[in-house]
Amino acid sequence: MNFFTEARSLLKVNIRDYGMYIALFVIMLTFSIMTDGLFMSSRNISNLLDATGYIAVLAVGMTLVIVIRHIDLSVGFAAGFMGAIAAILLSQMGVPFYLTIPIILVLGIVIGMFNGVLVASIGIPSFVSSLAGMLIFRGALLQVTEKTGTIIVKDDNFNAIGNGYLPAIAQIGGLNLLALIIGAITILFFIYSEASKRRQKIKYKFEVVSNQIFVVKMLFVSAIIAYVTWILAGYNGFSWTVVITLAVVIIYHFLTTRTVLGRHIYAVGSNPEAAHLSGINVKKITYIVFGSMGMLSALSGILYTSRLQSATTTAGTLFELDAIAAAYVGGVSAAGGVGKVTGSIIGALVMASLSSGMNLLGVGISYQYMIRGAVLALAVIFDVMTRKKRG
């Protein structure tokens, strides 16, 4: 098989996995051309990533919820509510920063677990129970912000989460040194882990792509990481938001692909009856997935509140829908059992790029909603079509 026929057949077989990467690439390229490169400027990309963070962490949690065939509509206002509680703890009750964060995260887990109990033990459809949760948290958010309106947060540590950057150490030709180092390490780590994975597969005589394709893939991905690093290094480097989001993605990626818990989550999603008959406690898995969703809503609330340096009465509005859209665009299947955490992050980036690009182009907000809706529909149509072809 020569290089191009192999590349083409790979693309055909893995179109589901590659589709969203291609979509992201096309969208970014289109906007770059239409804005004369403004879209890919250091400043814009840095802002885009920071603005994606609080949706991205929700999308990660939502991926697992949808994988086990549920949905959680309450995450938006839950995030808003918990962000407000964080603001109150910091500004009005004088709780120190390093205590506030764990308190809020634990609160998130408790709230999520409660949702899990409603769904798994009492048997309420998750759509309904989380819709109720959405209303309750919206009310709760209004309640706690009623007296003061917007709650200003003055804690510098807290505000740094959404606005601060990793220290540069030094500048090299106007570029942030630490960012460059991180980028280089990431590339090396990526190449090392892919190569060792490939070695393992060859050892077990599994199918692997040819050497040429492998090298091209390594070069391509490394180039992208290098490019993004270079862009970020040209501004302020890696922001804390990006670091936190990346940490969440790495942890969840590991959890879903390498651990017993992750395997059990996908087993429950792909066939709950078979999972039960295989000795998997489906209820427990449901509690854990909703608990993690609650914790990530709390984190989302912290990121958002910190970014605005205040808790507002409308914080969290429509976050849940952005997160759900990101998950679907990222290839999560509503039929359950299918979907990757990394995919959902790409989905979140696609949606954020659309907003950012259209803002730069001065597209009216009314058209923006319609276009984003159309992209979501297209993504799901694509998903259904490729699935049919396989079956």
Partner: protein
């Protein structure tokens, strides 16, 4: 009773190459009750689906002649229009709608497109009287017992001016009283000129009610017995039902050594709260170490329900009685408890609740015992590959690699993956539910060989099967179930097809 209301001539029907019916001839005279009898998979239901238009004209070969004309039904409503109504074993009622809404569902009493509810209620009272059901038509179906629901189904059929009523195992879920009432009603309807075809597994019932009885076996008509000539007897029916030659495809086990009981149940009952009846009733049985126990019985006899009630009770039946594993009384809260105690259950519906079809072979094989290869909760992927490759090689699973998606495998290979998954758990007792259903002869033989090998390694097996040949060929001891009860127990030496069928049709 001379002219035929229905004649089915040379009906053949295949499903993806497998012949379900071949040249079936079936005649029903006007005004008779005609029973259709046969083992599971003999083709009874398929024949009735051809008749009622579920399988439309053109998808089968042969002719349906009804009231003297050849019928070409392309959908169910076509057959209903001519007066053929079929009532399935799983009733097709809407549990939350009232009796009168159910009777006229799909056949609403309309005036200018608007439903006339008063007229509906009046008419439904009439229908209820005909089936001698004394309930308020406004009662929701959910509040009626199964017996009364069955009568509502018949009332619904009557409202469509039924001439030929087909009942698929109408008494399977009924108690004796309700069954008797139903049979009485069928006799009444016959006297009013309604012809009736009834599929039944209960021979007593058939003997008491049938004017004629046709026996199907392996998709062929074997014979039609005439009650007026005294031909419908238990022995004649059973002889015609079974008489299949058993090929000797069962590998022999040379040395049989049985140990102490590995599983024992005493006075074991399971009550299904959704169905509102016992699915397993007062079962006493035991399995010794090194034994293959066959559980025979017809569909709906409670075999699968029994297996599930022992295997951690995933359907949440209300259980009574005592369960002993290795001589110790146990009560399992979850399937995982049963697995820990050394019981494994290979489901009869491997695609539905057995396998993870969208996942690959290696994930399927390791899913029930992932912890063993996951120190600290992190899956050791090297070990996983070795485990899965081991089973792939030892069981000759035909696949391109252990990363192949299970949904793309053939039935036999899927079944081997199921087996591999449970062998990796290392059980003491393996419950196999219809282990060879839908797989080819070669794969069957391989599975039997695997079973014998497991026994020689000290495992015990319960094999639930509808295939008499397999039960007789593989088992050391056989229990026969019907209506949730153990109706008989036979050793391998004393068992034969007719004895088993005798117990199974009680």
């Amino acid at each position: 009773m001379s002219e035929n209301i229905l004649e089915m001539r040379n009906i053949s029907k295949s499903f993806t190459g497998v012949k379900a019916l071949s040249d079936v001839n079936f005649q029903v005279a006007k005004g008779e009750i005609h029973c259709l009898i046969g083992e599971n998979g003999a083709g009874k239901s398929t024949l009735m689906k051809v008749l009622s238009g579920v399988y439309p004209y053109g998808t089968y070969e042969g002719d349906i002649i009804y009231e003297g004309n050849v019928m070409n039904f392309s959908r169910i409503s076509d057959s209903v229009k001519t007066g053929i109504v079929i009532i399935y074993q799983e009733l097709a009622l809407f549990p939350d709608l009232s009796v009168y809404e159910n009777i006229f569902a799909g056949n609403e009493v309309k005036r200018g497109g608007i439903i006339d509810w008063n007229e509906t209620i009046i008419k439904s009272r009439e229908m209820l009287q005909k089936v001698k059901l004394n309930v308020n038509p406004e009662t929701p179906i959910r509040e009626l017992g199964v017996g009364k629901q069955q009568l509502v189904e018949i009332a619904k059929a009557l409202s469509k001016d039924v001439k030929l009523l087909i009942l698929d195992e109408p008494t399977a879920a009924l108690n004796e009283n309700d069954s008797e009432n139903l049979l009485e009603l069928l006799r009444d309807l016959r006297d009013q000129g309604i012809t009736c075809i009834m599929i039944s597994h209960k021979l007593k019932e058939v003997i008491s009610i049938a004017d004629k009885a046709t026996v199907l076996r392996d998709g062929k008509t074997i014979c039609t017995l005439d009650g007026a000539k005294g031909e419908i007897t238990e022995s004649s029916i059973i002889k015609n039902m079974v008489g299949r030659d058993i090929e000797d495809i069962y590998p022999k086990r040379p040395d049989k050594k049985f140990g102490s009981p590995i599983l024992e149940v005493k006075n074991w009952s399971a009550y299904d709260q959704e169905l509102g009846r016992h699915v397993v009733k007062n079962v006493d049985m035991h399995v010794n170490k090194g034994e293959i126990i066959g559980i025979a019985g017809l569909m709906g006899s409670g075999r699968t329900e029994f297996a599930l009630s022992v295997f951690g009770n995933p359907k949440n039946y209300k259980l009574e009685g005592e369960l002993l594993v290795d001589g110790k009384t146990r009560s399992f809260k979850h399937t995982s408890d049963a697995i820990h105690a050394g019981i494994a259950y290979v489901t009869e519906d491997r695609k539905g609740d057995g396998l993870f079809l969208i996942q690959d072979i290696k994930s399927n094989v390791t899913v029930a015992n992932l912890k063993q290869i996951s120190p600290g909760g992190v899956v050791n992927e090297n070990e996983e590959v070795q485990v899965a490759s081991g089973y792939k090689n030892s069981m000759y699973i035909k696949a391109s690699s252990i990363e192949q998606t299970v949904g793309n495998l053939s039935g036999g290979n899927q079944q081997k993956v199921s087996l591999g998954k449970w062998l990796f758990v290392g059980p003491k007792l393996l419950i196999l539910d219809e282990p060879t259903r839908g797989i080819d002869v070669g794969a069957k033989f391989e599975i039997y060989t695997i079973m014998n090998k497991l026994i020689s390694e000290g495992m015990s097996i319960i094999m639930i099967s509808s295939e008499l040949g397999e039960v007789l060929g593989m088992s050391d001891r056989i229990y026969i179930m019907a209506e949730g009860k153990i109706k008989g127990e036979l050793t391998a030496e004393e068992a034969d097809q007719e004895k088993i069928m005798h117990f199974a049709t009680q």
